[in-house]
């Protein structure tokens, strides 16, 4: 068990990191540790948790902006926003249930450090799109503050956004400032059953080219749909293709009609009302259709039109179960456990069709042995090493978390 440090103030964090940098002691950074199972395992002599850096420091509902200390639980952020009828636009997914960690335990710092966005990303953008200010300490133990609390800001380079998705390997964020949006008055879901992957993605693409602001566009293969909570959908034994509309009630009603009219060649549509929609999309957000099992979970970012082809190509090598999100631009792929995580096949197929693949769930020994993140081209690798060295020259922050030897 490594030494656990729980700084309660920026200066304390600086102090801890300065000590580690001097002794070149590797540090593992955790929020609540909810995504600890993701990425390459980190072997840190010291663990720094942001759990004591907690609290909402600024909330201006009329300006759609909030600042919170990085260790603030996401649940606290979301319940505070809910009191004013607002939410995080990008609907952060919760990897907990899929990776065997508790559900609902992640911190707001962890959410931005991993840039994990949910279904609404296609309409509203990713976590990184909403991060507008950050305070943090880098591996040189320097405290820095970049961006700010206003939405329009081009003063200096956009380092704030550059820290999103860096998995704690560049700096420990102590405070994040982000944009929020109002809850829509109502939500509705239009569902088509039994479509094969290629037709389903075609349907989603058609819907996304209509001016109705679809805010969720997913397709679950039949075995995946069989794990849904909704009894009616679970027992059908069919694939589920779903579109979400969110707006004020009369707009949702009108747009839904328009959408169904334009998609009628795909068959008869089922509908979920507001309450059912919240449950349905809430489940997807927790990834509970991909429950924690010994199988591997991959996450592949690609072009919607190539997604079904990519999946079919992998299927030639191994059985697959798939949840397509973002209109097909994101593939959650479950495949049988393998010592090499089937890396060679999956990376080869992804390279042919174009995209990035990240291994999300595997045994720690497997994650330590293979490349978990998309391998980099030489040019980007050089920049990646440079960026790491600029923030953390001694290489003490989450060493090896994203890439071996980095």
């Amino acid at each position: 068990m490594s030494d656990l440090q729980r700084p309660g103030a920026d200066w304390e964090l600086q102090f801890v990191i300065a000590g580690c940098a001097e002794k070149r002691m590797p540090v593992e950074i955790v929020g609540s540790g909810s995504k600890r199972g993701i990425g390459r395992p980190v072997d840190g002599a010291v663990t720094i948790t942001t759990a004591s850096l907690r609290g909402i420091s600024l909330y201006e509902p009329n300006e759609l902006v909030m600042s919170a200390r990085a260790g603030t639980p996401l649940s606290q952020v979301e319940s505070e926003l809910a009191t004013r009828g607002q939410m995080l636009p990008f609907e952060p997914i919760d990897l907990g249930p899929a990776t065997g960690a508790a559900h609902g335990s992640q911190t707001i710092g962890g959410v931005f450090a991993t840039n994990m966005s949910g279904a609404r990303r296609i309409q509203c953008g990713a976590a990184r799109d909403h991060l507008i200010g950050v305070k943090g300490v880098n591996g040189r133990a320097e405290l820095f503050q970049l961006g700010g609390r206003v939405m329009k800001n081009v003063t200096g380079y956009d380092v704030t956004r550059g820290l999103a998705g860096s998995w704690g390997t560049l700096a420990v964020m102590t405070e994040v400032t982000f944009k929020v949006i109002p809850w829509p008055e109502t939500a509705a879901t239009v569902i088509y059953l039994g479509l094969p992957d290629d037709l389903a993605i075609e349907l989603l693409s058609t819907a996304l080219t209509l001016p109705v602001e679809v805010s969720g566009a997913i397709h679950l293969q039949a075995p995946v749909a069989a794990r849904l909570g909704h009894p009616g959908l679970r027992i059908m034994g069919k694939s589920v293709t779903a579109l979400r509309l969110e707006n004020f009630s009369s707009a949702v009603a009108g747009r839904k009609q328009h959408l169904k009219e334009m998609l009628k060649v795909y068959g008869k549509a089922l509908e979920l009302d507001h309450r059912e929609s919240l449950e349905f999309w809430g489940e997807l957000r927790r990834l509970s259709v991909m429950p924690n099992r010994p199988s591997l979970l991959w996450r592949i970012s690609t072009k919607p039109t190539t997604a079904p082809k990519l999946v079919a190509a992998i299927k030639r090598y191994m059985p697959v179960e798939v949840y397509y999100d973002w209109g097909g631009a994101l593939i959650w792929l479950e495949v049988p456990a393998a010592d090499d995580a089937s890396t060679a096949e999956i990376r080869r197929v992804t390279a042919i069709h174009g995209g990035h693949a990240t291994l999300i769930r595997a045994e720690p020994a497997v994650r330590a042995a293979v490349e978990v993140f998309q391998p980099l081209d030489p040019g980007l690798e050089r920049l990646t090493r440079g960026l790491k060295a600029a923030f953390d020259p001694a290489g003490i922050l989450n060493p090896g978390r994203m890439y071996a030897n980095l």
């Binding site: 609390r149 200096g156 956009d158 919607p304 040019g379």
Partner: protein, 544 residues
């Protein structure tokens, strides 16, 4: 137009349709340059600063001393460039180089050593590789509409202009993306997809002329950004050439990048990280209709509170524009938009959607506005009506330019501080014995105070610049920032340490050093010069 006539170099001055917010100065010498015509946009403010150049006041920022060893090698360097690109791709004659001596911040004019006009990514790669080896500085340039001096050359630099790299490479309506070369104009991107019902969301007012490359370098915004975000929120992938000639592809037509978010770092890097040659952008289906409502108030407080209440109510309009009394008077006199002249503040709030949705939204907005005692509530009832309401706003800058020289600021503030900031801006300008008009994007707090002054009066011009600096300091003091969309460039570079601590600046400068270890790209911009020299030095130290 005394400010313009004092500019000896501009041979012809054409007023580009007077209702346009800016005067376009089209220099005859430019038409001689092959390829696309290059428009040199120029504001009245820029024209005024032009005048200042004749007697630079102390407040103007200094540029780094040119490298003698490079100037001495000029001829050899030009010879090498011609060998790389052919004589047709290199401009080295005096009058040709003059066309590139400034951007829209014309206070700074310095013809470059030469100008290169590549056609492909490979051309750019060859050029940069050579410049890196020869130790020659490079200034990337799109259309030259930067308002902060972002594209200003130095005497020892090569300008690499993207005007010949303006093709659409691929449109993919099913996946909702477009891939283009970065010399394409912003408007041409939307033009390429509008027949299919799509648009490219970021729409700076300079969109007729400015290039995507400039938009990417500045992370430009536009009227629609309240709803659709700025440039960085609408880009999927980039191809860029680093200073050593290496071509890197960052992400692609995918929503998530695989590793570090280099796209975030490159967008907004003001041409200092590399030359972006291609980009894949998101395109969005256009809503069927859009219509504005005009709301007039007896105080700026009431207008500010109304904006906050609209946003707080859960409605996100496409645009919320604000004009104060002086701006209304000028815009109305010019555009006959039917603006009320007796109100202190006017809001134009636009919503979009299907017809019945718009009716409902406009009703909801006017209901909210009634809580703030509006003197005027006028919702558009037809396309002609909408056009008329927008006509005044769109003409405001140009109309202002007809009655006075002005200096346009670009700070952003938290919306809640609006009334206090507006009254402080009034005081600052009054102390300097200057008038000010406010026309800005209220939804996101991005202010554009126009400080009015007479460019023929050097003392007044200096007072205007001082008032500008004070206003920017005020924006930072209330929790905002120096620049919301125009960028730092030369203009705000020396104010950076008001907003950032030395370690904040160090964090940024180290990133610059990764991309461009010898600091050859777009020199003299973004950071205060002493900090730049320090950053360059420590990059060299760390490399050693």
């Amino acid at each position: 137009m005394p400010a313009n006539t004092c500019n000896r170099r501009m041979t012809v001055t054409i007023r580009y349709r007077l209702e346009h917010p800016i005067a376009v100065l089209l220099s005859k010498s430019m038409t001689a340059i092959g390829g696309a015509a290059i428009l040199n946009f120029c504001t009245r403010r820029a024209a005024h600063l032009n005048f200042l150049k004749l007697e630079p006041p102390m407040t103007l920022s200094r540029m780094p001393e040119p490298d003698r060893t490079v100037l001495d090698r000029s001829e050899a360097i030009i010879g090498e460039l011609v060998a790389l690109l052919g004589a047709d791709g290199i401009i080295s004659r005096e009058e040709g180089r003059r066309a590139f001596e400034a951007d829209a911040l014309t206070a700074y004019r310095q013809p470059p050593l030469a100008v290169a006009l590549p056609r492909t990514t490979e051309d750019v790669s060859k050029l940069l590789k050579y410049c890196r080896q020869a130790g020659v500085k490079v200034v990337p340039r799109g259309a030259g509409t930067s308002l902060c001096g972002g594209a200003t050359p130095t005497a020892d630099s090569i300008v690499i202009g993207t005007s010949r790299m303006n093709s659409v490479l691929e449109t993919d309506f099913v996946n909702r993306t477009i891939t283009v070369q970065t010399g394409i104009t912003n408007l041409a991107i939307t033009d390429a997809v509008s027949a299919e019902g799509f648009f490219y969301a970021p729409d700076p007012s300079s969109q007729l002329a400015c290039t995507l490359g400039g938009n990417l370098a500045m992370n430009s915004g536009g009227a629609h950004c309240l709803k659709y975000g700025v440039t960085t929120n609408n880009v999927l992938g980039l191809k860029m050439v680093l200073m050593d000639g290496e071509i890197v592809e960052i992400n692609g037509p995918y929503l998530d990048s695989g590793g570090y978010d280099f796209m975030a770092l490159v967008i907004g890097s003001e041409g200092q990280f590399g030359i972006i040659t291609e980009a894949t952008l998101k395109i969005i289906p256009r809503m069927p209709f859009a219509r504005p409502v005009m709301l007039g108030f007896s105080s700026c407080e009431a207008a500010g509170q109304c904006v906050a209440a609209i946003i707080g109510s859960g409605i996100i309009p496409v645009a919320i524009e604000y004009m104060d009394k002086p701006a209304i008077a000028v815009a109305e006199a010019f555009a006959k938009a039917g603006y009320p002249l007796d109100v202190e503040a006017l809001l134009i709030v636009e919503v979009e959607g299907f017809e019945d949705e718009i009716d409902r939204l406009l009703r909801a907005i006017t209901d909210i506005a009634r809580n703030f005692d509006p003197q005027v509530v006028e919702a558009s009832t037809s396309t002609e009506h909408s056009d008329r309401i927008w006509k005044g706003r769109k003409a405001a800058f140009g109309a202002m330019g007809r009655i006075s020289d002005y200096y346009c600021m670009d700070g952003t503030i938290p919306l809640a501080r609006l009334p206090e900031v507006l009254s402080r801006i009034g005081e600052i300008c009054a102390e300097k014995r200057l008038k000010v008009a406010n026309v800005f994007h209220a939804g996101d707090g991005n202010l554009h105070p126009l400080i009015l002054f007479n460019a023929n009066d050097p003392d007044e011009a200096i007072r205007a610049e001082q008032a500008g600096a004070e206003i920017l300091k005020l924006c930072v003091a209330v929790g905002g920032c120096l620049t919301g969309e125009h960028g730092v460039g030369i203009e705000k570079r020396d104010l950076m340490d008001i907003q950032f601590s030395p370690s904040d600046l160090a964090v940024q400068m180290r990133i610059k050093s990764i991309f461009d270890p010898h600091w050859l790209l777009n020199p003299g911009k973004v950071f205060p010069l002493p900090a730049q020299e320090l950053g360059e030095q420590s990059a060299a130290d760390e490399a050693a």
